[in-house]
C-alpha cells in the first residue's frame, strides 16, 4: 500500500473512533427514550393482580434530629391516616436533638400512649442510617410489627397512602413498597418547581418503567415500607457504609430475590431544598451514595441472575446512563470537536442527528410526564419547557431548523459562512454540554452573593436543571476520588408542606 492508502485507512479509522465517541452521547438519550416507551406497559405489567386488602401491624420509624418545626404535625398526620388504629405505632427516634423535638414527641406520646413512642439517642449525629437502626432494633426485638415503614420526619402521607402500600405486602414475594414522593411546598420557587417536575419524571415515569423491566433502582427513603421478613433477611438493619442507605436496602432486598413495588397512587408530600446550594449538598450526598453503591455491587452489573434483574442489560443501561451522564456528554463533545477538525461535514451531521434525537425524546418525555401528575405538571409548566435549559433548547431548534440560525443571528449580524464567528458558534455548540455544567457550577457560586441571588434563577433557566444535576454528579466523582469527608448532612426542613 502507498502512503496515500495508509493515510486513507488512518483517516477512516480515526473518523469511526470519533463517531463512536459521539455515539456515546446518544446512550443517555436512548436510555430515556427506552424508559418512556416501556412506561405504558405498566398498564399490564404491574402488581395489582397480586395485591389484596391487607392491614398488617405497621411500626413507623421516624428519624428526627432537631425537627421541632415539623415533627408534631408529622405525627398528627400519621395518627390521622386511614388505617386501623390498633395496627399502627409511631416510633420517633430522636437523634440527640437540641431543640424542642423531645418535648413535642413526648406530648404526643402522653396523649396517645402505646401509639406514639419516643426513643432518645443521647449521642447522635452519625447519620440517618444509624438513627433508623436504633429504632429498627427496638421494633424487631418485639414480635408486634409485621411491617416497618421508614420515613423522613417532614413528609406528609396522604390519608390513604399507607393502606395503598400495605395491600402489596399481601403477596409474600414482595419485600418492600414505596410511594410517590411529590414536592409539596406550598410556596414554591424556581428550584422546587424544577424538583417537582424531576420527581414526576424520576418516580412516576422511571419507577413504573423499572417495574416493567423487573428491577427498581431505589425505594425512596422518605417512604419505604418493608415486610418484617424482608428487613430481617437483609440483616435487620439499614446498611451504614454508604450515603445512599435507601438504595442499598433496595438492592439488598432484590438480591435476596424479593420483589420491590412502586405504588404510584400512594402520595407522600415532601419539602425540598429551595436554593441551589442546599439542593447541591443534598444531591451530592445522593450522587456520592450512587457511586458507592456502584462500587459496592461491582460484581453484579451486567451479569444476569435467576434471583433478580439488577444484573440485566436494561437495568445496567439505565443505571449507568445516569451515573455516567456527564462523562458521556464530555465524550460526545470531544468527539464532535475532533471530527470538526478532520471532517466538518460529518461532525455537523452527527451534531444535528444527536440534537434532533434529544429534542424528540425531550418533547416526548416531558409531554408524558406532565400528564402523569397534571397538577404538579401545570404548576411547573415553565420548568417543563426549560428543563434542559434555554441553551439546549436553542441547539435543538437549530438542529431541527438549520436555517433558523442564519435568519435570526448570522445574517442580521453579517457573519459570513466561513468566518471565525461561525467557527466560534460551532465550537460553542459542540461543547455546550460540558459548558452548561460549568455554567451550573457558576450559578451555585453566584447564588452566595447578593447580585448572584438575583441572577441565579435566569441563569439556571439558561443552563438547565439537567446540567445542574450533571455538575453535581461530576462533583461527586471528585469527592469520591479524593475520599472527601462523607459525613451525613441533613437537609433543613421548616414545615413548608404544612403551609
Amino acid at each position: 500500500m502507498s502512503v496515500a492508502d495508509w493515510l486513507a485507512v488512518l483517516d477512516t479509522v480515526l473518523t469511526v473512533v470519533l463517531l463512536l465517541l459521539v455515539l456515546i452521547g446518544f446512550v443517555p438519550v436512548l436510555a430515556t427514550a427506552f424508559q418512556f416507551l416501556v412506561l405504558p406497559f405498566h398498564a399490564v405489567v404491574n402488581h395489582y393482580r397480586r395485591a389484596a386488602p391487607y392491614w398488617p401491624r405497621v411500626a413507623v420509624i421516624v428519624p428526627a434530629w432537631n425537627e421541632g418545626l415539623v415533627i408534631g404535625r408529622s405525627i398528627d398526620r400519621l395518627l390521622a391516616l386511614d388505617y386501623p388504629e390498633d395496627a399502627l405505632r409511631i416510633v420517633v427516634v430522636d437523634d440527640a436533638s437540641t431543640d424542642d423535638t423531645p418535648q413535642v414527641v413526648l406530648e404526643r406520646a402522653a396523649a396517645h400512649p402505646g401509639r406514639v413512642v419516643h426513643l432518645r439517642r443521647e449521642q447522635g449525629g452519625e447519620g440517618k442510617a444509624h438513627t433508623l437502626n436504633h429504632g429498627i432494633a427496638r421494633v424487631l426485638a418485639e414480635p408486634w410489627a409485621e411491617a416497618i415503614l421508614i420515613m423522613d420526619a417532614d413528609v406528609v402521607f396522604a390519608a390513604d397512602s399507607l393502606r395503598k402500600m400495605t395491600r402489596h405486602l399481601a403477596d409474600p414475594r414482595v419485600g418492600a413498597v414505596t410511594a410517590y414522593i411529590a414536592e409539596g411546598s406550598r410556596d414554591r420557587n424556581h428550584v422546587t418547581r424544577f424538583i417537582a417536575l424531576e420527581y414526576i419524571m424520576a418516580q412516576l415515569a422511571a419507577r413504573r418503567a423499572q417495574t416493567v423491566l423487573g428491577a427498581i433502582a431505589c425505594l425512596a427513603g422518605g417512604a419505604q415500607l418493608h415486610s418484617r421478613t424482608n428487613l430481617e433477611a437483609i440483616g435487620g438493619r439499614i446498611p451504614t457504609g454508604t450515603l445512599a442507605e435507601d438504595t442499598m436496602t433496595t438492592f439488598e432486598s432484590q438480591l435476596q430475590g424479593r420483589r420491590m413495588v412502586f405504588e404510584p397512587h400512594a402520595v407522600v408530600l415532601a419539602e425540598e431544598p429551595r436554593t441551589i446550594d442546599a439542593l447541591w449538598r443534598q444531591r451530592l450526598r445522593w450522587a456520592r451514595g450512587n457511586v458507592q453503591v456502584t462500587r459496592h455491587f461491582s460484581k453484579m452489573w451486567f451479569r444476569p441472575s435467576r434471583t433478580h434483574r439488577l444484573g440485566s442489560l436494561s437495568f445496567g443501561l439505565i443505571w449507568f446512563s445516569i451515573l455516567l451522564l456527564p462523562v458521556m456528554m464530555i465524550a460526545a463533545s470531544v468527539g464532535l470537536l475532533l471530527l470538526l477538525l478532520v471532517h466538518g461535514e460529518i461532525a455537523d451531521l452527527a451534531f444535528r442527528l444527536m440534537w434532533i434525537l434529544a429534542a424528540c425524546v425531550y418533547i416526548f418525555s416531558v409531554l408524558v410526564s406532565v400528564q402523569l401528575d397534571p397538577r404538579n405538571g401545570a404548576r411547573s409548566w415553565l420548568e417543563a419547557l426549560l428543563f434542559p435549559g434555554l441553551g439546549s433548547m436553542l441547539l435543538m431548534a437549530v438542529a431541527i431548523f438549520p436555517q433558523l440560525l442564519d435568519l435570526i443571528f448570522f445574517e442580521p449580524l453579517g457573519i459570513a459562512p466561513d468566518s471565525a464567528g461561525r467557527l466560534a458558534w460551532l465550537i460553542a455548540a459542540y461543547v455546550w454540554g460540558p459548558l452548561s455544567m460549568l455554567g451550573a457550577w457558576l450559578v451555585r457560586a453566584l447564588e452566595r452573593t447578593a447580585v448572584g441571588r438575583v441572577l441565579s434563577p435566569p441563569l439556571l433557566y439558561l443552563f438547565g436543571y439537567g446540567s445542574l444535576l450533571c455538575a453535581i454528579t461530576v462533583d461527586s466523582y471528585f469527592k469520591e476520588w479524593r475520599r472527601a469527608d462523607a459525613r451525613w448532612e441533613k437537609t433543613e426542613k421548616v414545615g413548608r408542606v404544612f403551609g
Binding site: 398498564a43 393482580r49 386488602p53 404510584p264 397512587h265 418533547i363 402523569l372 436555517q403
Partner: protein
C-alpha cells in the same frame, strides 16, 4: 388488630381494581405525546421543503 370487616375488604378490592384501571390511562397519554412529536416532525418536513 381487629380483623377488617367484609365491607372494608370489598372497598379495598374495589380500590385496587380502580387503581389498576387507572394504569391503562398511561397508554393514551403516551400515544398523545407520540402523536405530538410526529406532528412536529411532519411540520418540520413541510417547512423545510
Amino acid at each position: 388488630m381487629s380483623d377488617p370487616t367484609r365491607a372494608e375488604v370489598v372497598a379495598g378490592q374495589r380500590e385496587i381494581r380502580e387503581d389498576a384501571r387507572r394504569e391503562w390511562r398511561l397508554v393514551p397519554k403516551a400515544l398523545l405525546a407520540l402523536v405530538i412529536v410526529v406532528a412536529i416532525a411532519v411540520v418540520r418536513e413541510l417547512l423545510l421543503r
